[in-house]
């Protein structure tokens, strides 16, 4: 069977499976719709949380990022897992005890202000849509490469599937589907990793294989990588702070990702779906355990793929370049501009003049064709046309697109066809599970926090459920639209989402739980200062070429400073403003007391 036939089979089978689960777990009330009736066992909730959290970015892009960044890739690994510790210790059990449906609910009730509630709703919706856009792009990439359909057709299929199971089953349907999706995505990630580890090092455990000797070489994989990197002009793979990432920036980005993770509404809301506070704690443990299976394997995949990619690509005759290379060239994620000798050469920043490997990035196919045509003319006669390599380098498009690393690794290592198809099904599972979780947050923020809590508090149960379904349906359509016309700045926007979550929600929630003294006005000022500072800094440095004046911290890590400002402003103003009302103080004591103590 061909790769394409296998892909149709595996993707079709998994999609049918998701729909069956959705039908079996359809719901009739808002409690089922928003928090799955609070009856999900903690192991299952952990699995669903893991699938919810591991997006197309974790599945497709992260190993690629690590592969390109080497040591500095650890900031994503530590940032996205370390945040769970903060979440589990500082937030999850308390919000579960509080017992409402959403994060804006907590912010609005704790600070007794509808304005705070609306600010929280806006942040939640913004963060969620930002993420959804990235997921839909992931779906498009997988479909366009493996099913050879148009990217847009791929997005339509994804939209239709999510639409059915999210509107039918709400949180309950989504949770059980995510449990299935977790298995699909983790199998799809581990299988090729184990196969490649065996092939390169003879050790079936990728985490050990990564530090083992290469078969047929006298040195370990990591030493070999450092050697290759030095020869080809890349920064060292294992040494920290040698490339463009200095210690301060690695520190700030890691911390911003950690705190941002703990403040992301679609992750926090998962802890509302379990039976009790104790179950919320266990489910945080299960979630990180299941996540760690992928996160401990990703660095191994990154290292294997780096080695496989450079060794199958650099120095081969252009005519005999491997099939994976040719098929990804069609998508523009790899662009080869030869210097005329017919041999593929791939070099890093220190030897950039000799590099021939690029990516199309934001350029359209016809723009790349134009550059290629000019390049051919330049090769034939250096006084005409233009050296395409210089054009691409100046546009910052050196090296292949990172997103191909995970998807192409099985092909680079020439693994069985069904494994390659399995990876496609896994990438889709990762994208769809995260998209559905985010869509539910959007739906609950708008239908519950905005419609029910502010606009129409007397709405009947049936009406609220209907509004919830309509909003989630609309949100799916908007998400599909964003997938078809992606805003060209998805990666910056993701940094934005984490920065905002870190600078707004995290301090408000933590102080809301751990201080009985902080009142409405200081908290609001803190949130506003945090958001405005972070947003202005990111927008300024991404769009207006503002230098990183704040200790040289880049836009990805600035959320940390935003968070510190938020804490400082809130705590600084607190002594001058009244303490919260008696009702709120009782509520805070309630969430601090162990569950079951009153009954």
């Amino acid at each position: 069977m061909s790769i394409r036939a296998w892909t149709f089979l595996l993707v079709g089978a998994t999609f049918a499976f998701y729909l069956v689960i959705a039908w079996l777990s359809r719901v009739r009330d808002t409690r089922g719709f928003y928090v799955a009736g609070q009856g999900i066992p903690s192991v299952a909730n952990g699995m669903a949380t893991a699938a919810d959290w591991m997006s197309a970015a974790s599945f497709i892009s992260m190993a690629g990022l690590i592969s390109t960044l080497g040591y500095a890739g650890g900031m994503y690994l530590m940032g996205w897992t370390g945040g769970y510790v903060l979440l589990a210790l500082l937030i999850a059990p308390y919000l579960r005890k509080f017992g409402h449906y959403t994060v804006p609910d907590f912010v609005g009730d704790r600070y007794e202000s509808d304005i705070a509630r609306v600010v929280a709703v806006i942040c939640a919706v913004f963060v969620s849509f930002t993420y959804v856009a990235g997921q839909m792009r992931g779906v498009g990439i997988v479909f366009s490469r493996f099913l050879e359909v148009d990217v847009n057709v791929g997005v339509y299929i994804g939209v239709a599937i999510v639409f059915i199971y999210a509107t039918l089953g709400g949180m309950k349907g989504i949770t059980w589907t995510q449990v299935a999706q977790y298995w699909v995505l983790i199998t799809a990630f581990l299988t090729p990793a184990i196969a490649i580890s065996l092939q390169l090092t003879g050790n079936p455990i990728p985490q050990i294989g990564m530090g083992s000797r290469l078969i047929g070489e006298g040195v370990s994989l990591l030493e070999k990588l450092n050697q290759i990197h030095a020869d080809l002009g890349f920064a060292s793979y294992t040494e920290p702070f040698v490339g463009s990432w200095n210690k301060l920036n690695v520190f700030c980005v890691t911390l911003a990702l950690m705190v941002g993770t703990a403040g992301l509404p679609h992750v926090i809301v998962r802890f509302y779906t379990v039976k009790s506070v104790g179950a919320a704690r266990w489910s945080a443990f299960w979630a990180l355990l299941f996540i760690s299976l992928l996160y401990l394997t990703a660095p191994a995949v990154g290292a294997f793929a780096r080695y496989a990619m450079v060794s199958t690509m650099h120095g081969v005759e252009g005519e005999s370049r491997p099939d994976w290379f040719r098929s990804w060239e069609k998508t523009g994620l790899v662009v080869w501009l030869d210097d005329g000798d017919g041999v593929v050469e791939y070099h890093g920043a220190a030897q950039e003049a000799r590099n021939e490997i690029f990516r199309s990035g934001p350029l359209t196919a016809s723009e790349v064709d134009g550059i290629r045509a000019q390049h051919q003319r330049w090769l034939a006669d250096p006084s005409s046309g233009a050296d395409g390599r210089v054009v691409m380098r100046d546009a910052g498009l050196s090296g292949p697109d990172r997103d191909i690393v995970v998807l192409a690794a099985p092909e680079m290592a020439a693994l069985a066809r069904w494994i390659i198809a399995l990876v496609a099904a896994g990438g889709l599972a990762a994208a769809l599970s995260t998209a559905s979780g985010l869509l539910l947050v959007i739906s609950s923020s708008v239908a519950h926090d905005l419609y029910f809590r502010i606009l129409n508090p007397r709405a009947s149960e049936a009406r609220r459920l209907l509004v919830g379904r309509v909003v989630i349906g609309l949100a799916v359509v908007v998400a599909g639209f964003l997938g078809i016309y992606p805003p060209g700045f998805v990666s910056q926007v993701v940094a934005f989402a984490f920065g905002l979550a870190a600078a707004s929600f995290f301090p408000a929630i933590v102080l809301g739980i751990f201080s009985r003294r902080v009142g409405t006005i200081p908290a609001m000022f803190g949130m506003i200062v945090g958001i405005v500072f972070t947003a202005a800094y990111i927008l300024g440095s991404v769009y207006m070429g503002m230098p990183s004046w704040c200790f040289g911290i880049g836009p990805q890590g600035i959320g940390v400073i935003g968070m510190l400002l938020n804490f400082a402003v809130t705590l600084g103003l607190t002594p001058f403003f009244p303490r919260p009302s008696g009702e709120v103080q009782t509520m805070i004591e309630g969430i601090r007391e162990p569950e079951g103590a009153n009954g």
Binding site: M78, F251, T254, E589
Partner: protein, 109 residues
């Protein structure tokens, strides 16, 4: 807030503080601040700082949450046992206090 609730909350904060200190030392310290020095040591085929950043810290994070869930759930159970014992002895007084202390949101199972 009763005396036993205050004790419970203090213990909770202490468990949290210790675990978060480990979190910071291993993740931010070992994985980033001292990664360059630690890379001088090796564990298997890995430079140590690199290994902590890409493997070790994640394993420690998982263990931290495991320890937290275990200790806190045990602390909760002990507290609830004690509160129930006290409630049985002073039934009348307990009812009044629990009424004003509940948040009336039906969150108790």
């Amino acid at each position: 807030m009763t005396a036993s609730t205050t004790t419970y909350w203090r213990r909770n904060l202490r468990i949290m503080g210790v675990l978060l200190a480990v979190w910071a030392v291993v993740g931010l310290g070992g994985g980033i601040l001292f990664a360059d020095q630690l890379n001088g040591f090796h564990i298997g085929g890995f430079p140590l700082g690199f290994w902590i950043a890409q493997q070790g810290s994640i394993m420690v994070f998982v263990l931290l949450i495991l320890v937290y869930a275990f200790m806190m759930n045990r602390l909760d159970a002990a507290y609830v046992r004690r509160a129930r014992g006290a409630a049985m002895r002073k039934d009348e007084a307990r009812v009044g206090e629990s009424d004003s202390g509940s948040d009336e949101r039906g969150t108790r199972s």
